[in-house]
Amino acid sequence: MGATSVHRTIDAVWRMESAKVIAALARYTRDVGLAEEMAQDALVQALEQWPVEGVPRNPGAWLTTAAKRRAIDQIRRRENLNRKVEEIGRDVQEATPDASEGIEDEIGDDLLSLIFTACHPVLGTEARVALTLKMLGGLKTEEIARAFLVSDSTVAQRIVRAKKALADAAVPFEVPEGPELAPRLASVLEVLYLIFNEGYSATQGDDWLRPELCAEALRLGRVLAELAPKEAEVHGLVALMEIQASRTKARTGPGGEPVLLLEQDRGKWDWLLIGRGLKALERAEALNQPPGPYYVQAALAACHGRARRAEDTDWHRIAALYQVLGGISPSPIVELNRAVALSMAFGPAAGLALVDEIAGEKALQGYHLLPSVRGDFLAKLGRTEEARAEFEKAASLTRNVRERTLLLDRAANC
């Protein structure tokens, strides 16, 4: 195997094993920052040794053992931690080179603890995202920087500060239980969905790294679903991401222009991912838990995913689901979406009635979709003069040039 080939293998092994190595080490050291540093040291050692000696039969166990030895050295230097040295030393001596099924549960618990630690609410959003991608996704600092269009040093600083914040707050390396679990899980799910949306909604940046963010968020969501199978919202989020990801290829036209959901070529949707999303939704439903926001959003996405043609969409169900979502997470935007669903289910007058109810909401002032949607309803009702004024108002509010052109065209056609 040539040196380049070995380096490619090391990259792949690192992506696969780094989270497990860090998690296993953090269980002993109780210090995620130290664990991550020692794992990085083990990686450097692998980069030096493997091209010469060959890739070991069980690279993950090799990296873990090497990292633990580094940790012992580090802790020995901190003379007041002798007890931990003994514990880790014993473990290294007892370690067998082959991973076995018997330790999978332990690895799973460690990994889950690592997820909850990296996404701890004591950290800011950007720090949680960077730490998650670094420690759980195995992404390099420069890869995270490129994906988020910031400098390497910015990401490196975020990670250093995040590790320090975790240490300062003495965040325990454990899976939260009882009343603490719900907010902590919400924080984890928020991070995964942020990573997914960063890749999904992006309109600029490196072409390959941004879809990579979607893929990584989806993969971490699937991992979490296996580690926490009794949490309906985890399955809800996985379902939502699977179904949204299924539309990636249909979301833009040949010139890169956005294509609205109802106008997308459904032949370009990834029906394998839709099927996976619907299964994840079934897993969430089978748990009989009160619906959470991710579950409801996934159920909404599923209404579109089940329709082979746009005209087959179940708008009655969509309107009902938006009502449920509004009850869980009240928002004028949700109400605006419900108005669209009502108009599709019961006619434009039903939608217009709701839009007029919420038109005074502060959050919607300056939001171009309010006059755009209202204009659409008015046009369908034959109130062309009012419709034109609404489309022109919407055009003046949007910053998107393509959208402005579209809205002005609609105004001209009234």
């Binding site: 490619r8 293998t9 990259d11 792949a12 092994v13 992506r15 696969m16 690279p59 993950g60 999978e104 799973g108 990579e212 893929a215 989806l218 993969r219 971490l220 969501g221 699937r222 991992v223 296996e226 394998l272 996976r276």
Partner: protein, 76 residues
Amino acid sequence: MRFMVFVRSPDVAAARHAEALLRAGVLLDAGDLVPDACGVSGYWLIDVRDHEEALERVKRIALPACVVEIRQVAVV
């Protein structure tokens, strides 16, 4: 990138050792194929970053004696 992994073995359960791929969040689909001269076959469809990762993930699975073929799925 998606890769189709074909597992051919006389062991009926050979292709069913996919738990590690499931736990890693990379297994998209799995199934059995109609038996042929090589014995019983099954497949895994996995989503990973590159061929090296596909290879490393499959190597890590404790399979009985079998022939494994890894092919990248064409993107249309």
